[in-house]
């Protein structure tokens, strides 16, 4: 068909030049390519994420032994029933909840405040941005050990500073007392985590159209009202995102607790994951640990869905 004779372009048939692959084969290869490219990542994801999750749920219904050849009897929901009658887990759950309620809002508030201050023309804001984000890229283990040193009873920096100001030797055993131990865990978590919400909010604030803010100013809104009516509604998706991820992260708090206080004294600073870890690797009660972890997974998932729904509804 010569192009000169074609007048109605919409009705022009697709012409497959001779020698080209058939349309069917072409379609198959076009669909197959992305899947082929996803395969390696998908394989790793299935092996290291999906399989352990399924296996964890599976184990939670047995009295499971790590040694091969030992029978693993099916016990149904009894591991889950144990959770609700275990007094020790209540402290861990309470500490986890407390950790979440304290660290998440503070991280969000500090992150947003720092982002708000550093979007404007503050001198040296690049340096500030880097400094605030630096803890995020350092290792949890390293940071936890550094804080464990700072708050150590003997030779710790905190006690040294207090001794200097007090004029006499101070020997507070920060990590061996419930409230000070918890406070150290919160401080290290906020210090290390705030940079992440800061970066998220910084990007979100950069995305707020300047016209909207200026329109608010011209409309007679004061700065707090511009934040309330213009900026916050505009960054609401980021707020939801940061909140959900921080809640998930806080529910899974482990490393800093394990390294600084180890959950002690007597489990009083322990959280759900350190408790589950202890059940699995100190008492070799893998099934009970799996039940705790599974219940947490379900709770966190439910909580996240609820949060997203609520935020979406308020967006209207």
């Amino acid at each position: 068909m010569s192009t000169d004779t074609v007048t109605n372009y919409e009705q022009r048939p697709v012409v497959i030049p001779p020698g080209a692959v058939s349309q069917r084969r072409f379609r198959i290869s076009r669909l197959a390519t992305p899947y082929a490219l996803l395969l390696p990542a998908g394989f790793l994801y299935a092996l290291f994420i999906v399989y352990p999750i399924i296996r964890q749920f599976d184990i939670s219904f047995y009295t499971w032994h790590i040694f091969p050849g030992v029978p693993n009897p099916y016990v149904g929901w009894s591991n889950y029933a144990r959770i609700f009658h275990d007094p020790a887990i209540r402290t861990a759950a309470w500490n986890t909840l407390l950790f979440l309620v304290i660290t998440v809002p503070i991280q969000m508030f500090l992150g947003l405040t720092a982002a708000a201050l550093l979007t404007d023309r503050l001198p040296g804001r690049g340096l500030w941005r880097a400094l605030i984000f630096l803890p995020v890229v350092t290792s949890w283990v390293v940071v936890s050990y550094v804080f464990a040193y700072i708050f150590a009873q003997q030779g710790g920096l905190a006690n040294a500073v207090l001794s200097f100001f007090a004029g006499h030797a101070v020997h507070i055993d920060w990590l061996a007392q419930t409230w000070t131990g918890n406070a150290v865990i919160w401080i290290v978590s906020i210090w290390k985590g705030v940079g992440w919400s800061f970066i998220m909010f910084l990007a979100a604030l950069d995305g707020v159209p300047r016209d909207l803010v200026e329109s608010g100013r011209v409309d007679g809104a004061s700065e707090p009202r511009i934040w309330r009516h213009v900026v916050i509604p505009n960054i609401r998706p980021t707020i939801t995102f940061v909140l959900v991820l921080l809640v998930i992260g806080a529910s899974q708090v482990f490393t800093q607790v394990y390294i600084t206080t180890g959950g002690g004294p007597f489990g009083s600073t322990g959280v759900l994951l350190t408790y589950a870890y202890q059940q699995a690797f100190s008492f070799f009660d893998f099934s009970y640990a799996a039940a705790i972890a599974s219940l947490m997974a379900v709770l966190v998932l439910g909580l996240s869905i609820l949060q997203i729904r609520l935020m979406r509804r308020s967006d209207g």
């Binding site: 011209v218 409309d219 007679g220 004061s222």
Partner: protein, 391 residues
């Protein structure tokens, strides 16, 4: 009721760029002033300085008798329509329109009433509970207007409010803007790069270039008596043909390349300043509509050109043709001036010109066509300064 006065207002950015240079402008109460100019001429900066969104580097901005230099935007009682409309996406149309009133703590019943009134004026009543994302471009533009008029502001500012709309809607909303401005009757500053908007809307039009005011006059005055070559070239579409010419020592003709236009004594009467240019080079400006097809009357001046493009628009024909005269461009004048060059740049020896002729004529590309010259309508400019030669 307020007038706006700008006195020697300049804006210099920290990098040294001067966006606005010693601008003097007065917009009287109720006046619709349009600021027009090419991109980057500083027109939006002027508007933002009046709104208080941009600090001024020097000079005075007054609303009535009150100096506004240090007054923050929220206390200026200014309503502004942004190019992007800047509607609050999470608020309904009604909430958007009533936002400024809420900020002023106007009672709720009063807000509702005023929002409904504004909505009915702009035909938005049935959209009041919608959100901006659910509206068309034209409706969003109306909401932005509604947000401004509901406040009864003392100053009304508009920053290219129609530039995001299609041509048809633009014409429709242009008329609506004129109507709304008339209704609220406050000093209005409207920024645009579209000269049709400038000519149709403005009581007066200020032409800005490189941050400096070129001329501020009623639209027809700008068109008929441009103060300089830039205004002459900027106002009018298609633009005025600007050609380098030599005035004869006897002041009775102008030579354009190899052709000659005779000048009647009436031209000298209307342009007495031409006497100083006897035997000198100057710039001759001819509007496209002043080059009709020649009817070969005796004594009439004519210009012959080689037609290379014909645009038949129905009501008229635009004929693009070449003359062997030097074309004059008024671009980059600032740079030229800084470099000590002539303000007026002479271009190629073969000038590209446009004529607007009646549709009954048959013109084809490649023709050598003869145009009559309406000599009373010629404009003359100084070759060095680019200023119009009148007195």
């Amino acid at each position: 009721m307020t007038s706006i006065r700008l006195e020697k207002v300049s804006k210099v950015y920290p990098n040294g760029f001067e966006a606005v240079h010693e601008l003097d402008l007065e917009i009287v109460d109720g006046e619709f002033m349009v600021v027009v100019g090419p991109s980057g001429c500083g027109k939006t900066t002027v508007l933002r300085m009046i709104a208080g969104l941009e600090e001024i580097s020097s000079g005075i901005i007054q609303f009535g008798d009150r100096v506004m230099n240090q007054v923050p935007p929220k206390n200026r009682d200014v309503a502004m329509v942004f190019q992007s409309y800047a509607l609050y996406p999470q608020m309904t149309v009604a909430e958007n329109i009533g936002f400024a009133l809420r900020m002023k703590k106007v009672p709720k019943e009063e807000i509702d009433k005023r929002v409904r009134d504004a909505a009915s004026v702009l035909g938005l009543t049935e959209w009041l509970s919608r959100k901006p994302g659910q509206l068309s471009g034209g409706q969003r533009q109306r909401v932005a207007m509604g947000r401004a008029i509901v406040r009864n502001p003392s100053v009304f500012l508009m920053d290219e409010p129609l530039s995001n709309l299609d041509a048809k809607l633009r014409v429709q909303l242009r008329a609506e803007i004129a109507r709304v401005q008339q209704r609220i009757g406050v000093a209005t500053l409207y920024v645009t790069h579209d000269q049709t908007e400038a000519m149709t809307l403005g009581h007066r039009v200020a032409v800005l270039r490189d941050g400096a005011l070129q001329q501020c006059d009623a639209p027809q005055v700008l068109y008929d008596r441009p103060k300089n070559i830039f205004v002459a070239g900027f106002i009018g579409s298609p633009a005025m043909n600007l050609l380098e010419g030599v005035l004869s020592a006897e002041l009775d003709r102008v030579t354009l390349g190899s052709q000659m236009i005779s000048l009647s004594p009436s031209v000298l009467v209307s342009h007495p300043g031409l006497k100083k240019y006897a035997g000198r080079t100057l710039v001759v400006g001819i509007r496209p509509e002043d080059l009709p097809a020649a009817d070969h009357q005796r004594g009439a001046s004519e210009l012959k050109g080689d037609v290379h493009l014909v645009e038949a628009l129905g009501a008229e024909i635009l004929v693009h043709f070449r003359l062997d005269a030097s074309i004059v461009t008024s671009e980059d004048s600032t740079r030229r001036k800084e470099n000590g060059e002539s303000l007026v740049g002479s271009g190629a020896i073969e000038a590209e010109c446009i004529a607007r002729i009646e549709p009954r004529h048959i013109v084809r590309s490649g023709d050598r066509f003869t145009f009559a010259v309406t000599e009373d309508r010629l404009e003359f400019f100084d070759h060095e300064s680019g200023l119009t030669i009148w007195d």
